[in-house]
């Protein structure tokens, strides 16, 4: 049985649908050009309530990481490598990488988005080093 990720606002649903289709999209403000993450009702820069769901490139750089040495969530046995990356489009996004890449990561290392299957039955965007 497959479960959807929890939605924290109506704006999360289209994002998760785009992830399911293998091409993550975020809201882009037509006035300021700013991408919103997490998705939300208003552009924090222009205060415009308009947006276009725009594909992102999947290119990003690592800004930090933490390794969980203890299992908290059923989907992620330890060790689990969580990363914070800055997307080429601007927003910071929390995601994860395979633990096998632990020794190769560094601040500012370029990474690219790939899609993985969450055990609950939905797709999640994760990252891998962009060599």
């Amino acid at each position: 049985m497959s479960k959807a990720p929890r939605l924290y606002s109506p704006y999360d649903a289209p994002m998760w649908e785009s992830i399911a289709q293998g091409q993550m999209k975020l809201q882009r403000c037509p006035d300021s050009g700013v991408f919103r993450y997490p998705p939300g009702p208003m552009c924090p820069v222009s205060l415009s309530m308009d947006y276009e769901w725009t594909p992102i490139s999947g290119k990003a750089r690592i800004i930090s990481w933490t390794v969980f040495h203890r299992q908290y969530l059923p989907a992620y046995p330890a060790p689990h490598l969580v990363v914070a990356v800055q997307l080429e489009e601007g927003p910071i996004m929390v995601s994860y990488m395979d633990y096998s890449e632990r020794e190769s990561i560094a601040l500012d290392a370029p990474v690219r988005m790939v899609y993985a299957d969450h055990p609950d039955g939905y797709r999640v965007p994760k990252f891998t080093l962009d060599r």
């Binding site: 990720p5 929890r6 993450y37 930090s64 933490t66 969980f68 040495h69 969530l73 910071i92």
Partner: protein
């Protein structure tokens, strides 16, 4: 921009006339033994009675009530039988701010601040599938589809980047847990009293969310705290032990909070610096005048960011400051002299207010900071930087 004509002074408007708390050590033992001494309301009620007694006033003197975030306002007021002319609900630091504001505006004169939390016996989850806190801070829950959960892991992410940028080591971070444990060993109310912690002991424990280890995390225990905050001149009349509030400062960073921008890119520094400027201007003193520093320490990295943000050292130099000066027993800057959340009791900032008052009052035995005139409290929970200066 602010309006010049407003009277913004918060110095010596109010004073803490009484403090009270529950028996953290005994209740920790009992709860681990499967007992449930009280629920959150019971802990709060007991702390309230002790605070009233400490202040030398009666319940009927109270005309303002603030309850902590873990209990319902109305039910707490019903249990304590307080029908105030002003009230609210707030976390520890905001409760003190609100009490000062209420007193300054004449809305209330004797405010009871009451907190109880049965988080251990009630098995409150701070991480995992049932993690709490999402109603207040979306960042606490939003990233769990990727495996990021628990507030400790948020500080792990924050401190990993700081370590990379500043060249800080695990040994540097360990100084916080080790120093606070030294203080806890002088505090009869500290749950970790009698359990000395050396740096080697600290390093020998495995990571939880790297680079944080078990001793970088706060305790989880049941308990309650209460404070009686009164109009300053009245407090001095009723009690020779009243400790004045000399200033308040606050600055929040909400932009990009859920995607962790202020946490990861700024380490909350701009907010801390603004709050520092305000609180020091109010009190007319600065970090060099403080006899002790009390920092909200759900996790040990808070101490690094507080030292830098509030001007005790320059940004990026907290590790060096701690090495050169010392923050534990015998150090030049006593930090979290009760043992803090790491080693005394996790009362979500409330027990720090009690310790500040007691240090300024004096006669704290082995852990008394000599000639303690001013104590600064700092908290940076989720980018809300706030500070209070307590003094004679």
């Amino acid at each position: 921009m602010t309006t010049a004509a407003l009277d913004t002074n918060t110095s010596q408007i109010a004073a803490v006339a009484g403090v009270g708390h529950t028996d953290w050590v005994e209740d920790y033992r009992r709860v681990r033994n499967g007992e449930k001494p009280y629920d959150s309301y019971g802990y709060a009620a007991l702390a309230f009675k002790r605070a009233l007694e400490d202040a030398g006033i009666t319940r009927d003197d109270v005309d303002g009530l603030i309850v902590g975030p873990t209990t319902a306002y109305e039910r707490m007021g019903e249990i304590l039988n307080i029908d105030p002319r002003w009230g609210g609900q707030a976390d520890a630091v905001q409760a003190v701010f609100q009490a000062v504001m209420a007193i300054k505006s004449g809305m209330a004169e004797v405010v009871a601040l009451v907190y109880g939390n049965d988080q251990r016996s009630a098995a409150v989850q701070y991480g995992g599938p049932q993690a709490m806190g999402g109603g207040s801070f979306l960042s606490y829950v939003y990233h769990s589809p990727w495996g990021l959960t628990s507030q400790g892991a948020l500080y792990a992410l924050m401190f990993q980047r700081y370590k990379e940028l500043r060249g800080v080591t695990d040994r540097d971070l360990g100084q916080v847990a080790v120093g606070q444990r030294q203080w806890a060993n002088l505090n009869p109310n500290a749950i970790m009293r009698g359990k000395p912690l050396s740096l080697d002991d600290y390093l020998a424990v495995k990571y939880i969310a790297e680079p944080l280890r078990m001793n970088d995390y706060c305790l989880i225990n049941d308990g309650g705290v209460a404070l009686i905050v009164m109009e300053a001149s009245r407090a001095r009349r009723v009690s020779s032990k009243a400790v004045a509030i000399h200033g308040l400062g606050r600055s929040d960073l909400n932009h990009h909070a859920t995607s962790l921008g202020p946490r990861l890119m700024d380490f909350y520094l701009p907010a801390q610096q603004q709050a520092a400027e305000q609180v020091y201007a109010q009190a007319g003193i600065g970090p060099k005048d403080m006899d002790a520093l009390l920092v909200y320490d759900s996790f040990s990295p808070h101490i690094f960011f507080a030292l830098e943000g509030f001007g005790y050292c320059r940004p990026g130099e907290a590790a060096k400051f701690i090495r050169d000066n010392g923050i534990g027993v015998g150090g030049k800057l006593p930090v979290n002299t009760h043992g803090g959340h790491l080693s005394e009791s996790y009362m979500q900032g409330w027990s720090h207010q009690v310790e500040a008052v007691r240090q300024v009052r004096g006669n704290l035995g082995d852990r008394q900071v000599q000639d303690c005139r001013f104590v600064q409290y700092v908290s940076d929970v989720a980018g809300k930087a706030m500070s209070i200066i307590y003094g004679r």
